[in-house]
């Protein structure tokens, strides 16, 4: 049998349906690939026994004619998702032993449709990071290397484990989350497809919270169609999340391959930033040309508040995080370091359990929310956030979607940006606006740079218009014909 890990999710589902192979065979191939790829540090917990048990149950369903839309497909799950009876750490020591007694809605939806869980994927601690270096489990290593080099590169973050596992063919697809770019930047760094849907599409219930008004779950996959299949399963209204939208989920895969003729594509001039590599600018131009060839109309648009999105985000997100992470006090679950009294126990537990970047963000959040600074920082940031959302609303008067680069560079070396927090934050310069406005954004692999590293293009859509993004993403994917894969060194 040819290597089953070479299949896309779609072709694997077709093969399962045609009984060309069983889910047990497909799952075993991925379990073996994971065991052979431990050098990537993509998984923080492998669950091979559970995977094979789920695969056997899937094969039984298929034999009985009751298979679901993802039946038998082995997936990886970002460690931010609570999985019943299976440890979920959010990349942090403070809940390093936490075994959730409940299942997140997004993963429950995947299991409802028959998917198989291979294990839990590494990530930046509490999803705070752009390089995976803040993980308590050590960084994920990008399966991609520069041509002729052997330096270890970041897979991006925070969903670095999801991105690396998908790129290295350790799973057919993965769940991920995106608060400021945590799906799209790693997708760009690993030559994979990632979509952050509209805020409210996917339930946040059972997903460890970072910044609740920005957090959204989404899939990472090797093709646009695979991402569409996964999102269709993951999304849907959930009464357990009060911000979950009470709307029907379309069949997103039906949008892939649809004509994009006549769609108006906005090119925001503010996304041309100083110091951006010429190759990324050239790829952006190429993407514009591809969509023009596919029949799209290109229009120049202005999003004048773009440069203020990151500073606004670094008030809003830490403020929400400082509130959300107050729950980790060592009393009901998680790490406890006994102190002299209650306050001392809180302070010691939290100092021992949180890593440096998480502590830094909690302090910023606490500072901007503290008496005397609330109006000057937090309220100001919320007003700037409105300005940013208004920019997009104005753009939608003249275009149907936007095309931008996903990230300002290709994957960088581990350790390269870790001394300067602001330099690290700038990774999210093109992605963070979408979270603030609650819009859908997708990264599609579009080419390689001179060193042979993948680069991505980002599509941004109107709220709830993921369908158009899947059509446009399919068109870009077809035009780019991105076939490159990392050369196996692990």
């Amino acid at each position: 049998m040819s290597d089953l890990t070479n299949l896309t999710l779609k072709t694997a589902l077709d093969g399962l349906s045609a009984k060309a192979f069983s889910s047990v065979e497909l799952t075993r191939a991925h379990v073996e690939a994971i065991e052979a790829a431990r050098a990537l540090n993509a998984f923080v917990l492998e669950t091979p026994d559970k995977a094979l048990e789920m695969a056997r149950a899937s094969d039984a369903r298929r034999a009985a004619g009751t298979a679901g839309s993802l039946d038998g497909a082995p997936l990886g799950i970002k460690d931010l998702f609570c999985t019943k009876g299976v440890r979920a750490t959010a990349g942090s020591k403070i809940i390093g032993e936490f075994v959730p007694p409940y299942e997140s809605t997004v993963t429950a939806n995947l299991w409802r449709d028959g998917a198989v869980m291979l294990g839990k994927l590494n990530m930046d601690e509490f999803a705070m990071g752009s390089s995976n270096e803040t993980s308590a489990w050590g960084p994920v290593i990008n399966p991609w290397r520069k041509a002729g080099g052997n330096a270890q590169l970041t897979p991006g973050g925070s969903s670095g484990g999801s991105a690396a596992a998908v790129a290295a063919q350790l799973c057919l697809g993965a769940t991920a989350t995106d608060t400021g770019g945590s799906i799209r930047q790693p997708a760009a760094f690993t030559g994979t497809v990632g979509i952050k849907p509209t805020y409210g599409r996917c339930s946040r219930w059972g997903v460890v919270a970072f910044a609740s008004s920005l957090d959204q779950a989404g899939p990472m996959a090797r093709t646009v169609e695979d991402a569409a299949i996964l999102l269709t399963s993951m999304a849907g209204h959930d009464p357990k999340d009060s911000t979950s939208l009470p709307i029907e989920t379309p069949d997103f895969a039906a949008f892939v391959g649809k004509s994009v003729k006549g769609l108006r594509i906005g090119v925001p001039r503010e996304y041309r930033v100083d110091g951006m590599p010429a190759e990324i600018d050239a790829l952006w131009e190429q993407g514009i040309a591809w969509l023009k060839d596919a029949g799209c109309e290109i229009v120049e648009v202005s999003l004048p508040h773009t440069k203020y999105a990151l500073p606004a985000y670094y008030i809003v997100a830490p403020a929400e995080a400082s509130s959300n992470l107050a729950r980790y006090d060592g009393m009901r679950y998680g790490l406890r370091v006994e102190g002299q009294n209650l306050t001392d126990t809180y302070e010691k537990s939290r100092a021992a359990g949180f890593g440096a970047e998480v502590r830094r963000r909690i302090l910023i959040g606490t500072y901007v929310l503290s008496a005397g600074y609330y109006d000057a920082y937090y309220l100001k940031a919320l007003k700037v956030r409105r300005r940013i959302a208004d920019d997009f609303d104005r753009a939608w008067e003249t275009c149907d979607a936007l095309l931008t680069p996903t990230a300002p560079s290709a994957a960088f070396q581990l350790g390269e940006n870790s001394d300067d927090p602001v330099a690290m934050y700038l990774n999210d310069i093109f992605t963070v606006t979408v979270n603030l406005a609650g819009l859908p954004g997708m990264s599609v692999p579009a080419g390689l740079d001179a060193a042979g590293l993948p680069l991505g293009l980002q599509l941004i859509g109107r709220a709830l218009d993921e369908g158009t993004l899947f059509s446009l993403g399919g068109a870009l994917e077809k035009a780019a014909n991105f076939q490159a894969k990392p050369t196996k060194w692990w």
Partner: protein, 95 residues
Amino acid sequence: MTIDAATVRKVARLARLAQPEETVEQLARELNGIMAWIEQLSEVDTDGVEPMTSAVHTPLPMREDVVTEGGDPDVVLSNAPRRSGDFFVVPKVVE
């Protein structure tokens, strides 16, 4: 606006994060760097702008005020750092 060592100590106390004294100066420098970068927000004219607190335009839903899940203390206590019977064991709060 500058964050000095005293501010770091105060904020760390508010956040219930023990902050070793030898790290306070370094942290103050880092936070100052970040806040100086954030300061550019003051350039944006936000007069009369309504703060955006949510990306969702629909009103928050209401539900019946009834118990939907519960009655299983073992599940609730399954991750407790310390328990005694059906109770969490915590440091003494009242002297």
